[in-house]
C-alpha cells in the first residue's frame, strides 16, 4: 500500500519534472535529456532485465535517426509517423543482429553487438547517397499538420508524449509475464530452458523491443536536431548509453532515465563552461561507479531504503555471479 503510494508519488514527481524541464534548462538540452532517457531505458530493458549487455545499441538509435530523417524529408508526413517509421526500421535491423548475436552469451554478446554496430556505421558511411556520409543528413523538417514547431520549446511538448509512451511501454513489458520470463533468463537461463521456454527466441524478442524503443528515441533526436549524422551510429554513442544506464542503476528502469539526465546536464554544463576534458570526467565517473556504486544511483537509494526498513530480503547487486565453480557454457 505504502509502496504504491510512494510509487505514485515518484511518478508525479517524474511527470512534473518532465513537463517543467524546458523551463529549467535550455530547451534543446531538455529534448536531448528526454531522448537519451528513453534510449537508456530501452537499453536497461536488455541489460537489467534480460541480462544482455548490448554494446552496439547505437545501431538502432542511429538507423532510426536516419530512417526518420529520410521519411521526414522525402514525404513531409507528420513527425510522429516518421519517428514510428524509424522505429520500425530499427526493429527490422534488430532481427538479424539479434538472431546472430544470441548465439553467444555474456561478454561475447557485448563484443559481437559492438562489431555489428560498427558494420552499420561503415554501411551508413558508404551509403552516402542516402545518408549523406560524413556530411550527415541535413535539414530534417518538423511537420505536424500546419503547426509551427520551429521553436524548440514548443517542439519539446509535442515530442514528450512519444517519449512518455515509450517509457510506459517499457514499464508494461517489464511488468508483463513476458518480462518475468526475461528476468528469469537473466538469472538462470539453464533453468528457463529446462522449463521448456525457447530462450533464444525470448532474447531476440527482447532485443527487437529494445531496438524499437531506442528507435523512437533516435527518431525524435533526429527531428529535434534537424540532423542525423554518423555520430549516431558510432560506438562511442553505444558506450555513452551504457554509462547512463550503469550510472542510474542497472535493472531499475527509471535509474537509466536519471542517469541519462545527469550525464547530459553535466556534459552541457562542462561544455558551456569551456571545460576541456569531458571524456576524462565521463571515464572517471564510470570507473568510480563500476568500482563502488554498482547499483547505480537509483539502485543505491533503493538499497538504502530497504535496509533502513529492514526488509531482510536478499538484494544482490545486478548481474553478480556467485564466485563458485566456473561455469562452462555449452556453445549454442
Amino acid at each position: 500500500m505504502i509502496a504504491r503510494r510512494l510509487g505514485l508519488g515518484w511518478l508525479a514527481v517524474g511527470l512534473a519534472a518532465a513537463v517543467a524541464l524546458p523551463w529549467l534548462v535550455y530547451p534543446p538540452v531538455a529534448l536531448d535529456i528526454a531522448c537519451w532517457a528513453l534510449f537508456a531505458v530501452a537499453l536497461d530493458l536488455l541489460l537489467g532485465f534480460t541480462g544482455l549487455l548490448s554494446f552496439g545499441h547505437a545501431a538502432f538509435w542511429g538507423s532510426s535517426a536516419y530512417a526518420t530523417g529520410l521519411v521526414a524529408i522525402h514525404t513531409g508526413l507528420p513527425f510522429p509517423v516518421a519517428v514510428l517509421a524509424g522505429a520500425v526500421v530499427a526493429m527490422v535491423l534488430a532481427v538479424p543482429i539479434g538472431v546472430l548475436s544470441v548465439r553467444r552469451t555474456g561478454i561475447y554478446f557485448a563484443m559481437v553487438t559492438l562489431a555489428f554496430a560498427q558494420t552499420v556505421y561503415f554501411g551508413a558511411n558508404q551509403w552516402r547517397s542516402v545518408t549523406g556520409g560524413e556530411n550527415g543528413l541535413q535539414g530534417v523538417p518538423r511537420e505536424l499538420g500546419g503547426v509551427d514547431l520551429s521553436d524548440p520549446f514548443v517542439f519539446y511538448y509535442f515530442a514528450l508524449p512519444l517519449v512518455l509512451a515509450g517509457l510506459f511501454a517499457a514499464w508494461r513489458v517489464v511488468r508483463s509475464p513476458f518480462g518475468r520470463v526475461l528476468v528469469a533468463i537473466r538469472d538462470n537461463p539453464a533453468r528457463v530452458r529446462a522449463l521448456g521456454y525457447p530462450v533464444e527466441r525470448y532474447e531476440v524478442l527482447a532485443i527487437v523491443l529494445s531496438a524499437g524503443l531506442a528507435g523512437v528515441a533516435g527518431g525524435l533526436f533526429a527531428v529535434g536536431h534537424g540532423f542525423a549524422s554518423l555520430q549516431e551510429v558510432y560506438w562511442t554513442t553505444s558506450g555513452k548509453v551504457v554509462i547512463m544506464t550503469v550510472l542510474g542503476g542497472i535493472g531499475t528502469l527509471w535509474g537509466a532515465a536519471i542517469g541519462a539526465a545527469l550525464l547530459v546536464l553535466v556534459e552541457d554544463q562542462l561544455a558551456t563552461a569551456g571545460f576541456d576534458g569531458i571524456n576524462l570526467v565521463t571515464g572517471l565517473v564510470f570507473v568510480v561507479v563500476v568500482l563502488l556504486f554498482r547499483r547505480g544511483i537509483v539502485g543505491t537509494v533503493r538499497h538504502l531504503l530497504r535496509s533502513r526498513r529492514g526488509r531482510g530480503l536478499p538484494d544482490p547487486e545486478p548481474g553478480v555471479e556467485p564466485a563458485s565453480a566456473p561455469e562452462v557454457e555449452p556453445v549454442r
Binding site: R4, A12, L15, A16, S150
Partner: protein
C-alpha cells in the same frame, strides 16, 4: 486507491497543459534581434581540441578579438556598436555538434555572425542553420565548394579557399611544370571526392592526364597498398596527388618517404596542406612538395607585421586561418558600420559586391553571385630543413595566382541564391 490515482494524474495533466499554454518565457524563446547601438556578438565556431586546433582553434578567437579591438580603435566613438563581444564554441569537427552549437550561438548567445568553421561537413551544417535563423556566416577554414555552389544561401559567405582553388593552383601548375601523368589518391568522403573531381578537371585542362584515382578508407593509417601500386601503374605516373588532410596526410607522407617513391620517379603533390602539417612532421618530411596556400605570414612586410602582432599575443606564427578570421571579422564589422545596422539583410547588401584589399585578401571582391570572397592566392613549395631560417619559415612562395584566376568562375558555381 483508484480515485487517488486518477486525481494525481489529473493534477499532473492539468499542470502540464497550464504550463505549456502559459507562453514560452523559457530561454530560447522570444526576441532574437539585437538592438542597434547595443551589443554586437561575434561567434567563432571551430575545432579547439582536435586535429584543427592548431590550424585555427583558440588562437582564431584571439585573431577575431584583435580585429574587434582594431575596429574599435579605428572608429572610436563613431563605431556602430559600443559593445562588441566575441564568443566561441568547439564543434570537435562533427557536423551534428556544429549544427547544435550554431543554433546555440545564434539563439542562446545572440550571435549575429559565425566565423571560421573548419571541416566541410560541419561547415555545411552551419550554413543550414544560418539560412534558417537568417543570421550571417562567414566561413574561412573549410574546403567544400558546396558553400558557394549547390548549398549556397543568402547569409553564407566563403572566404580563403576551396577545393576548386586548390586544384586549380596545385593541379594546374604542377601539370604545366612537367608533371603530366597523375595518380590520385583521395579519402573516401565528401571532401576527398570533391578534391578528386576538382583536381582531375584542372589537370585535364592543363593538358595532363590522370592514370588512376583510388579512394582510400577514411580515416586510414596504412597507405602501403596505394603506395606500392603507384610505380607499377602503366604509364608510370610522374606525380602522386594526395587529397588526404590532417593525420591521414601525415601518415601518407611518412609512408611515401619510407617506400622511397620519389627515388622511383613518382613526385608528390599535396591537395591540401596547412603550415601546421609541415610543423607537425617537420619540413624535411615534406621538402620539395608543391601546394597552394591562401596566405603565408612571411610573404612580405605587411604580412610579417601582422604576424608579429599575432605572435606577441599568442606566442606562435599565424596560419592562413588566423589571418583569414581577422580579415573576415574586420570586413563583417566594416559592413555593419556601412549599413548602420546589424540587421542581417542590410549587412548582406553591404557585403555583396564589395571590393577591398587587406593584408590577408589582396585584390579581393565579395562576389554577389555566389558569395565567394575571391583574392590572390599563392603557389608554395616546402623548404628543406637546411633552408629554414627561423621558426615556421617553411614556405618558399613560387608565384602569386591573381584573384581573377584563382577561384571558380561564378557562372560555374551552380549557386542559385534563392535566399
Amino acid at each position: 486507491m483508484r480515485k487517488r490515482t486518477t486525481r494525481a494524474l489529473a493534477v499532473a495533466a492539468t499542470g502540464a497543459v497550464v504550463l505549456a499554454g502559459c507562453g514560452r518565457g523559457g530561454p530560447g524563446g522570444g526576441d532574437d534581434e539585437k538592438v542597434t547601438g547595443g551589443k554586437l556578438v561575434l561567434a567563432v565556431l571551430n575545432d579547439q581540441s582536435g586535429i584543427y586546433a592548431d590550424l585555427s582553434g583558440k588562437n582564431a578567437v584571439t585573431a577575431v578579438q584583435m580585429a574587434v579591438d582594431d575596429f574599435k580603435a579605428r572608429h572610436a566613438d563613431k563605431a556602430v556598436a559600443a559593445e562588441i563581444e566575441v564568443v566561441s564554441a568547439d564543434h570537435q569537427n562533427k557536423p551534428d555538434i556544429a549544427n547544435s552549437k550554431a543554433q546555440e550561438l545564434y539563439d542562446r548567445q545572440g550571435a549575429a555572425v559565425i566565423l571560421d568553421v573548419p571541416t566541410s561537413s560541419a561547415a555545411l551544417a552551419v550554413a543550414t542553420q544560418a539560412k534558417q535563423k537568417k543570421k550571417l556566416y562567414l566561413n574561412v577554414t573549410a574546403a567544400t565548394t558546396e558553400l558557394t555552389g549547390a548549398q549556397c544561401n543568402k547569409y553564407t559567405f566563403h572566404y580563403a579557399y576551396d577545393t576548386w582553388m586548390l586544384a586549380n593552383g596545385t593541379g594546374r601548375t604542377v601539370t604545366e611544370q612537367g608533371g603530366k601523368t597523375w595518380y590520385i589518391v583521395y579519402p573516401d568522403y565528401a571532401f576527398g571526392q570533391d578534391m578528386q573531381k576538382s583536381f582531375t578537371a584542372a589537370i585535364k585542362a592543363a593538358g595532363g592526364s590522370v592514370v588512376a584515382a583510388d579512394p582510400t578508407p577514411f580515416p586510414n593509417d596504412n597507405f602501403s597498398t596505394f603506395l606500392l601500386k603507384a610505380p607499377t601503374l602503366s604509364p608510370k605516373p610522374a606525380v602522386l596527388g594526395t587529397m588526404q588532410a590532417g593525420g591521414d596526410l601525415v601518415n601518407l607522407v611518412k609512408q611515401y618517404n619510407e617506400f622511397k617513391l620519389r627515388e622511383k620517379g613518382v613526385d608528390l603533390a599535396v591537395g591540401l596542406m596547412f603550415i601546421t602539417d609541415i610543423h607537425s612532421l617537420g619540413p624535411d618530411a615534406f621538402a620539395g612538395t608543391t601546394f597552394t596556400d591562401a596566405w603565408y605570414w612571411n610573404f612580405d612586410k605587411q604580412n610579417r607585421e601582422w604576424a608579429d602582432k599575432f605572435q606577441a599575443k599568442t606566442g606562435t606564427r599565424p596560419s592562413f586561418a588566423h589571418a583569414g578570421d581577422y580579415s573576415a571579422a574586420t570586413q563583417y564589422l566594416e559592413a555593419v558600420q556601412r549599413a548602420g545596422t546589424d540587421n542581417s539583410d542590410e549587412v548582406v547588401k553591404a557585403l555583396e559586391g564589395y571590393k577591398f584589399s587587406d593584408f590577408f585578401a589582396r585584390n579581393a571582391e565579395i562576389r554577389a553571385a555566389d558569395h565567394s570572397v575571391v583574392h590572390d592566392v599563392y603557389l608554395a613549395k616546402v623548404k628543406s630543413k637546411a633552408q629554414v631560417t627561423e621558426d615556421w619559415d617553411y614556405e618558399e612562395i613560387l608565384k602569386t595566382i591573381p584573384a581573377s584566376e584563382a577561384f571558380r568562375p561564378a557562372a560555374e558555381s551552380g549557386c542559385s541564391m534563392g535566399g
